[in-house]
Structures are given as structure tokens and as C-alpha cells.
Subunit: 468 residues, 2 copies
């Protein structure tokens, strides 16, 4: 019997099979917490090659680990066993011709999100998925993690934007589900199930995605709020007042601003006043006849009158707008440069954000007095990146990382929210899922995995416990 590496090399050719030091760039996850050297990295160029790789791995008893842009935060795209093959679809990055009348496009799973955005610009169309990693994240990974980002509350998560899929199943056969319609109720919604399956039920090779016309105008404002309760109330008010225009409703807090300003010297605060919480509000419209600036200004005035808004400014140019957005987008970087940190990807019902942040702060301060709490994220869908830095002068969390995670996931669960809002479970949060989700739900997921992948070939140890 030929050894599996030779077989894979034969299937894929020299450009398609990397091993040894060539495979090293694929080995570790983004946060450098997971990953050991795999047998090698397969870089297939076609769906047929993907199927051949999966079949060869299954026959050789090798684990298959799909990897997109490797920007995931839960370790779901790297190997934790040496008898594994990482499958990267970076060579499958073709972008189809958009269909403007249908509002859809077919792409290969290796397409980088930013490349898709760019390719659509000349057509007056957009794919409404935006997140920090868009310069590296690939469509397949975004589908596998059911990515959300900053516009999810308006346009949905990946599962809402995927119309059809082509998938290589754990059996090594191709499921052709490349339909291009929203309404398809011919049986179970497999296309939705693969969104968020983290590569454990097969490898997505192509997708039909929903497109929207590019808005013709937008209006952005940066606001200073007295507290989170005011931010929540003002967010609900905006949904009623300008709901159909709202494309951004992002928040960050003053600690995060301090850290960003401290570590990123070219960053500048854009208003006179400071507060506890900041909101970045963005409206967009396809119609040039909508008085978008007036609508936003009058909403802000209402907010000021009601004491919900302390200060604010509308962006007066594209550069100005970019400065607003950079303040929000540099939140993770500012905190990273401060040193050790703990990330918690929480969601709660939007109306409960202020309560979560208050209760969370009390508990975290009990666990480690002086711990610095830096929540930021997406107000519109209640997604809080509830991140921690050690107390001033400390370099670590005194071994209490687990306690923070348990406490915060517990409160989120109790409030009807999630401890794995948009980053998924990966390898990092399986135990947390077992604790927070109850045996019925975990059992259904284990059965589902077993039904699709009885040999446990696909991404073992991710999302559900590996039976091996």
C-alpha cells in the first residue's frame, strides 16, 4: 500500500501538496493557541480534487481539517493530531459573474471576502458582510463559522446570505446544492445547516450568495453616550425612526478608547467630549431622494433632548467617516497591544446589553479586583465582545481565565443569549457548550455529526467531542 502522503501528492501535484516547512504557515491558529504539524497541507484546485483528497484521507484513516483564511478565534481550522491533513481552498478562488436581476453570484470557497467586495464594485452591487478580518477571511471559512459582523442585524449572518452550496461530504462525494433561490423548501435546509458546521460535516467548495444593490448615499455619526442604558434606549429608538436605513450600530467604551489612543499614536479622538460609551451609527439608502443627513440629525437631536446622547458629530467626508470607523475597528488592536487579554464572544437580547455589562462587571471584579473590562461590539444584535485586560500593573489573570469564562457564559445563557455569538465553538468552547447547553441539545448535535460523518474524518475535536 502506498503511503498516504504519496497518494495525496499524486492526486494534487507539487503545487497542491505542501509538507515539512512549506506546511508551517498553516499550522497554528490566529491567536497562536492551537495547532500541531499535520501530515501536510492539501491545496486542491477543483471540487473533484477536494473529493479525491477526502476519499484518500478517509481510506487512510487521516483526519481532514478544512482551513479558510485561518482568521478564526476558536482554533477550528488547525490540526491537533499529526495524522491529519489541512485542506486549504486558497487555489479555488474564482468569482462568477454577478446576476444583477436576481441579486446573486456564484463563488468558489477560497475567495477572500475583500476580493469579492472589490469585484462587485463596478457592478453597483454589494455583498453585505463586513468584519475586521475581511482582508484574509475566505468565503468557505465564513460559511463554516456562520460569520456575522457589523451588518448582521440588517442583512443577516452567512446563513441568511447563502442561497446554495456545493459540498464535498465526509464520504468524499459531491452534494450539488447550487441553487440560486431564497425559497427552496424541498426538504431539510441543508444549506443552512452547513453554515456554522465548522467543517465537521464536509467541505464547502462553492456557494451562491445573495447580493444587494450598493446604496447611493450614506450618513455616519459618532456619538457620546452617558452609559449603556442610554445606548440601548437610543438604539431601540433608531430602529423605529430609521430602521430601514440602519446599516451600522457599533459601540465601544472609554477604556477601549484610552487603550487604542495610547497604543496607536496616529489615532485621534474626533469629538470634544468623552463619555462612558460611544456609538457609531451608520445609515445608508439606495434612493438619492431620502434626506438621510436630516433624518440622522433629527434623531440625534431627539437623543440629546432626552438625555440619551451627550455629544455627537456627523461625518462630513469619506475621510472623516473612515476616522470614525477606525476608532471602532482598532478596539481589538489597542487592547492586544496593552498585553494579556481574555476574549468573550457574547450575545444577549439587545435590550439586555446594559444589564449584562453591569452584572458581568460586578462578577468579574469579584473574581479579580481591578480587572479592566472592555466591552465593544454590535449593539443592533446584542453581540458584545466582552474582553478583559488584567488590573493595571499586572501581566496576567492570576490563573482565573476559566472562572471568567464560566461566569460570563452563565449570565449570557441565563439571559437567553449565547457564549459563542459569532466566533463559533471550534476547539476552544466545546466544554463551555457542554456546560451551558444541556444534554438534549448536545446529544442532537452528536447524532447529527455521527449521521453525516460516521467515521469521524471531518475536523475531529471541533464543535462536538470526537468519539475517537
Amino acid at each position: 500500500m502506498t503511503d498516504p502522503a504519496t497518494t495525496l501528492h499524486e492526486i494534487l501535484g507539487p503545487k497542491g501538496w505542501l509538507s515539512g516547512s512549506d506546511a508551517e504557515p498553516y499550522q497554528r491558529d490566529w491567536l497562536d493557541r492551537y495547532g500541531i504539524a499535520p501530515l501536510g497541507v492539501a491545496r486542491p484546485a477543483t471540487t473533484t480534487e477536494v473529493a479525491a483528497v477526502v476519499t484518500a484521507c478517509r481510506e487512510a484513516g487521516l483526519a481532514v481539517v478544512p482551513q479558510g483564511g485561518n482568521t478564526g478565534l476558536c482554533g477550528g481550522a488547525v490540526a491537533e493530531q499529526s495524522n491529519a491533513v489541512i485542506v486549504s481552498l486558497s487555489r479555488m478562488a474564482a468569482i462568477g459573474k454577478p446576476d444583477p436581476e436576481s441579486g446573486s453570484i456564484i463563488v468558489e470557497a477560497g475567495v477572500v471576502l475583500a476580493a469579492l467586495h472589490e469585484s462587485l464594485e463596478p457592478h453597483g452591487l454589494m455583498f453585505p458582510m463586513h468584519l475586521g478580518a475581511e482582508g484574509s477571511a475566505r468565503i468557505g471559512g465564513l460559511i463554516g463559522t456562520n460569520a456575522g459582523g457589523s451588518q448582521a442585524f440588517r442583512y443577516g449572518m452567512m446563513q441568511d446570505l447563502v442561497l446554495g452550496l456545493e459540498v464535498v461530504t465526509p464520504d468524499g462525494v459531491v452534494w450539488d446544492g447550487l441553487r440560486a433561490v431564497q425559497k427552496d423548501n424541498a426538504g431539510y435546509q441543508l444549506r443552512k445547516l452547513y453554515c456554522g458546521a465548522e467543517g465537521t460535516l464536509g467541505i464547502v467548495t462553492r456557494a451562491v450568495l445573495r447580493l444587494y444593490p450598493t446604496p447611493r448615499q450614506q450618513a455616519s455619526a459618532l456619538l457620546v453616550m452617558p452609559d449603556f442604558a442610554a445606548a440601548v434606549s437610543f438604539g431601540a429608538f433608531l430602529r423605529g425612526e430609521a430602521g430601514e436605513f440602519l446599516t451600522g450600530l457599533e459601540f465601544f467604551c472609554d477604556l477601549g478608547l484610552q487603550l487604542a489612543l495610547k497604543h496607536l499614536p496616529d489615532l485621534a479622538w474626533q469629538l470634544d467630549r468623552r463619555g462612558d460609551v460611544y456609538l457609531l451609527v451608520e445609515l445608508a439608502s439606495g434612493s438619492p431622494r431620502v434626506p438621510l443627513d436630516d433624518i440622522l440629525t433629527s434623531a440625534l437631536e431627539r437623543g440629546v433632548d432626552q438625555g440619551l446622547v451627550l455629544d455627537g458629530a456627523l461625518a462630513t467626508s469619506g475621510v472623516h467617516r473612515a476616522q470614525f470607523w477606525r476608532l471602532r475597528e482598532e478596539q481589538p488592536e489597542g487592547q492586544r497591544l496593552e498585553g494579556a487579554q481574555l476574549k468573550h464572544d457574547i450575545s444577549v437580547p439587545p435590550g439586555a446589553i446594559a444589564r449584562f455589562i453591569e452584572e458581568g462587571a460586578a462578577i468579574c471584579s469579584d473574581i479579580l479586583p481591578g480587572v479592566r473590562i472592555n466591552p465593544f461590539g454590535h449593539l443592533g444584535d446584542g453581540n458584545i465582545h466582552y474582553n478583559l485586560s488584567p488590573p493595571e500593573g499586572r501581566a496576567d489573570f492570576d490563573g482565573k481565565a476559566g472562572q471568567f469564562g464560566d461566569a460570563l457564559s452563565g449570565i449570557a445563557t441565563e439571559m437567553g443569549g449565547s457564549f459563542a455569538a459569532e466566533h463559533g465553538l471550534g476547539r476552544a468552547k466545546i466544554a463551555m457548550a457542554d456546560r451551558n447547553r444541556g444534554p438534549v441539545e448536545r446529544e442532537l448535535m452528536a447524532r447529527l455529526k455521527d449521521a453525516f460523518d460516521p467515521q469521524g474524518t471531518m475536523n475531529p475535536g471541533v464543535l462536538v467531542r470526537s468519539p475517537l
Copy 2:
């Protein structure tokens, strides 16, 4: 051993267990094509009772058939075996208090859609699901069939509107997935999977649904179009011009109008001119500052200039608007009163609507010369109710129903669409699914069913073939 009927009667009490003639109203489906007398009808009042019923049925080897408002068109909610129990959740119809800041509400599965709409009105909130059967259809059935309706292209289908679920699984245990957040990636998207599962994976007992603020103004127009190609182009134009306001984009054709006017004497055409195709366009906005009428008028003028629109009128009052909508909503009734009919629930990519209708017409006329073709439906998502009446003077389709179904489902599949767009498979379309969807997809669905319901207790013979 007690006989199962006695056990169920004991679990449910006299109000909760119907048999004999009391069970008759539940026996047949809406189109009177399916259904034999079940052992009885269970009407549990609590989730605990639902679980007890499922457990008792499983132990006694009885099939469990969940039934909502029994308005489905594919026979998925009635029994085709006598050792079956129909489970109706009509006694579980509690509506929770809406949470306006989070935009969500918890409801029991037996709630009638129109009752939910009504209960939300005083709160300035809406649940954006609208379809002809809303006066009878219940939330559980809408989830089971993943209902779409006329606003799906803007607000999504049920799977996009369901945040959390409580389900009694085929094992008779309760899965508490009643989260109230959009972003929850803690494992497989079970909440999406249950949407469209047609009661074959368990019984949905409660749901957390997304709510939206009620728009403060709307504008409606009825348009006369020269043909379907013009309707498609104008629809795409409107998406760009007024995309964020578009809540209705319905079409019907002149044959349908003729039949409706013929059989419903109180119905009146609202314009001077007639054409081949009519569009009902509706815009809505949460902001009183948007010049909605102007935007719609100017779009219509552009359409007229480009020869896409022949004639049109804006609704000048609520009564006027209701007259427009009635013309669209009476399409099924007009055709039903004409006599025999065949319904086909097709979707194609919206840009392919005109091509589908043209190719479909050619094929249908080949199969039965003179057959009358009456497509109507939802332009925005490409959902065509492609219904047929026999040739003038004939009472039937000359035994060719199957040929029409095969041909039309084949073209839809080839165009990247669906032959089961929003009505599901039920019992009626399993063979069609087997023909159009290929063995990999059908095999994945069969495995999924078997993993969740190894004994085949839940709604056997629906969606997938029963192994029994």
C-alpha cells in the same frame, strides 16, 4: 397493558383527547387529497403533555402527526395510517409580552398568525410574515413548513425570523433552545434545521420570534406591464432605487384577473388599461421624513419612459390599497372557482422569471394544447405559483397532471430553482424530490431523519420516505 387510546385519554383529559366523530375535522388536508381516520387527536395544553404524548405513542408504536392550522398544500399534517395520533397545539396559544428593545417575543406554537399580528398592533411592533392563510395558519405549522409569503424577500422566511425554539424530540424529551438572539453559533444551527422539517424531527412547542417596528407610512401602486421581461427589469430597477422600502412586489397575469373578475362579482379592476402582467408594488418606511409617494411616483415615471410600465396608479387611501391587494389575493380563489386546477409552487432566480414562464408555457401547451396558464406570486424572490386550468370547455387535464409536474419541476431545477419553493414536500412531492435532487442530497436527508428519529415515529411518510 392498557390500550394506547386509554393511556392518551388519561394523559390529556377529556378536553385533550378527541376520537370518533370529534376527530373528523382534523382528518383531511386543506385540498382534500390526503388523510384517513387516525386513532385520535391529541390536544395537549402544555409542553409536558406534548412530551408525554410523544413518549406514549413511541412506546405503543403509533405514528405522531403534528398539525397546525391545517392549511398546508402538500398533505404533511394529516395521517395516512390508522395507527397514528394527530397532535394539534391549538390549546397552546399563549402570546408573550413583546420586548421592544430587543425586537423579540415568545409565543406558543398554537398561536394563529393573524392573532399575533393583532396582539402586536398596540405596541407599534410587527411580525413581518404575511400569507393568504394567516387567519388560520399557526406558528408551529409556519415553522414546520418554513413559510415564506409576500414579504420574504425583505424580511426573510420563517427560518430568518425564528431566534429560538422549544421542541419535543422524537424521544419525547424537551430541547430547550429558547434563546432570544440572532447571533448564536454554539454548534449546529438546530433552530434553522427545525424550520422546514415538517414535523419529522419533533414537535415545535414554543418559539422566540423577531419583531420589527411598524412602519409609519406606506405607498402602494398597481401597475400594468407589457410582459414578464418588463416586470423582471422593473423589479430589479426598483430594488436599486427603493430597495430598503420595498415590502411588496407581487405579480399576477391577465388570465388570473379575468378568472377573478368572472367569479367574484364584487371585485373591480382599478385601472383603465389592461396588459399581460400586473405588478403590485408596496413601499414602507419607519421615517415620516421620507418622501415615499415621490420616490414611488418617480420610479413609475422612469418605468413608463423606458417602456417597462404601460399604466399605473398609486393607492390614495387605505380602502384603495385594500382593493389593489384584493386583486392579487383573490387569484387562487378565482382560479379555484373556475374548476379543476393544478398548482405548482416554483421558484427560480428572479432574473429568470420571464424565461421560466415562456419555456414553461411552450412545454405545457405541448403536453395539452389549450391548457390555460395562470402564473402569479412573488416577483422579489422568484416564487411563481404556476397554476394551470384545463383548456376552455374541458373539465380535467386528460390524466396529464404528472407530466406537467415533471416538466415544470425539471425546468425549475435546471434554472437553479426549486419545485417546492414555499409549500414544502409533505406527502405530495417526495417522488418529485427524489427525481430532482439527486441521491447525495436525499441520502443526507434520510440520514438526518434516522439520526433524530430512529424509530420513525414522527410524521412518517412526510419529507423523506418512511423506512417502514
